[in-house]
Symmetry: C2
Subunit: 331 residues, 2 copies
DNA sequence: TTGTAAGCGTTATCAC
DNA sequence: GTGATAACGCTTACAA
């Protein structure tokens, strides 16, 4: 069933059918009714592809994430999709993994589907070198690009992110306030936001008289169990530490395991701070003090920005908002 | 830049360009090279909409879930998307929430985008009454429908699911083996798989001489904290129970909290079994014994089935596979 | 092996 | 208000 069949049955031209379909005011009530009746009787729906071809848009956006099963990214996907949907956009999701080559290929595929705009979740997509980011700049030549918790300068690129550096500094300060003398920092990767967080941590240490900050930051790319083991080996190496700030709640949960396993009382002997305010922080016993970086706010804002950009408005290319500490039992 | 521009620059017809684009063998190496050169120089990509209009497919599939931020669903989304991508399909994601009306609207929207097939994640989509499921049967008239961990009979509908009833029975049996006398069951909703799990639990109880099984199952639709409180009120009500089986790991984590808070030793005084083998089971201390319902296997199989169906093959409409117990510290 | 031309199902620009 | 008719950019018989 197509627009011709409808027009024939309703005894009008396809132009009129199209007008009814698109809510044009230039149709008499009588003919509108005639057409709508035929449409409903046959439950006709216009062909999306033909429509898109004319309009040159299918009202879809691309969402790129590295791993949709990651609790943080999963949340972002959820909020983004709901917000986009309420603005009549459909989301195409791509989980790229962490390899640059794959990211590029996924992006190319997405762009070849003529999406209207592009969201990158997380700062894993930002490479340290300008050359590595060329693929994003390129994409921005075709559609507006929104970086969620990532930062990159360029035309048609909009960044929205939590002030991770200050958030990380504040939550480390809290560890000191709660009696810590020597906190270590646990991070997964040195992505853009990863580096910001480390910087905030180090700033706090310096303000508290610890100068050799680099010696207190540790990469824990593995499971909770492995994080736990890394802390154990630190202890065995003779390093003194009595608190841990972590780049995400999963790492913090690893630290909780470490403390419990070694009979350290939390928070009297050992203090822990997570990040992301995810379900994982509530899952531990005691629950983990964590940083709420307001994923929902970020996603809602990003979609609102997209609507403005697609509407031809000029908006700031960067927006940084503050996080807030949620204190629980580990501090 | 369109196919005409390419054909002009390459000095061939648009048909030839199209042939090159689609890898037709009926093109001489010389002309193919000419065309490819022009394509690469101008980095031309064919218009997806025009293409779809001709082919009547854009190689996209719809994925419907109720909540992409749920750890279980997030995993399913991840595995589905990766597998679909490797078969050249792009995924359109919709998070419908839990209200029937919204599910229907989302589905309609997805279908209007001319997707090639449809995946439903979880049994939340299956209503208890046939009338409530009409919208799924309807969708199956247009495209093949795959139910992941849900079951519904109908033409063009394929169900793939874990044998939750037996899995649940087995893991409850384990609680008894580990010394439990009176396990309770914690569930979130009575969805299709929810009911299967409860049935398995009850069967185990009956085999262990407990007849009034209904009195041992409890709905805990809220947070871990609330689950914990429900258990406390059970205790206060005078009910004797010394173990908990749960419909997901989050509920089980709530039970862990309860036990720890009341000084019950896990697993000596209180045994706990989760479900889904998610990150949450590893997050608790002690780690939670859980049931691996093999999300990855389910997703991989579903996509493989889809490929066969789209290929015109006749495949079984239902596939049930067994789960397996992962024993950790709570039993 | 290559080219011509007829679709695909819409939207949009004209006339009337 | 309504109706022809030309795009939109591609695929694919059918000819050559």
């Amino acid at each position: 069933m197509n627009i011709y069949d409808v027009s024939r049955q309703a005894g009008v031209s396809i132009a009129t059918v199209s007008r009814v379909l698109n809510g044009s005011s230039k149709v008499s009530d009588a003919t509108r009714k005639k057409v709508l009746d035929v449409i409903n009787e046959n439950s006709y729906t216009p062909n999306a592809f033909a429509r898109s071809l004319c309009r040159n848009s299918m009202s879809t956006v691309g969402i790129l994430c590295s791993d949709a099963s990651d609790v943080y990214q999963a949340q972002a996907i959820y909020f983004l999709e709901r917000e986009l949907r309420s603005n009549s956009y459909t989301s195409m999701l791509c989980c790229t993994g962490y390899r640059l080559q794959e990211k590029k290929e996924y992006l190319k595929l997405l762009l070849s589907k003529n999406i209207d705009s592009l969201f990158f979740i997380g700062s894993h997509f930002i490479e340290p070198t300008p050359k590595g980011n060329a693929y994003i700049l390129n994409a921005a030549k075709k559609v507006p690009v929104f970086l969620l918790n990532g930062k990159l300068d360029g035309p048609n690129i909009y960044s929205i992110l939590c002030d991770d550096e200050n958030a990380s500094k504040n939550i480390t300060d809290l560890l000191f306030e709660r009696g810590a003398q020597a906190p270590v920092y646990l991070y997964r990767t040195k992505s853009y936001s990863g580096r910001q967080k480390i910087r905030g941590f180090c700033r706090s240490l310096q303000e508290h008289g610890i100068t050799d900050t680099d010696k207190m930051t540790f990469s824990c790319p593995g499971s909770m169990e492995e994080t736990c083991r890394i802390l154990e080996s630190l202890q065995n190496s003779g390093l003194f530490f009595d608190a841990a700030a972590a780049a995400d709640d999963e790492l913090a949960a690893g630290a909780v395991k470490y403390a419990l396993r070694h009979g350290l009382h939390i928070p009297k002997d050992f203090r822990i701070a997570g990040y992301n305010n995810s379900l994982l922080s509530a899952c531990s016993s005691p629950e983990i003090t964590t940083l709420d970086n307001r994923v929902e706010f970020m996603c809602t804002s990003a979609v609102s920005q997209m609507m403005q950009v697609l509407d031809g408005k000029d908006i700031p290319s960067q927006m940084i908002y503050s996080g807030s500490i949620i204190e629980h039992g580990t501090t």
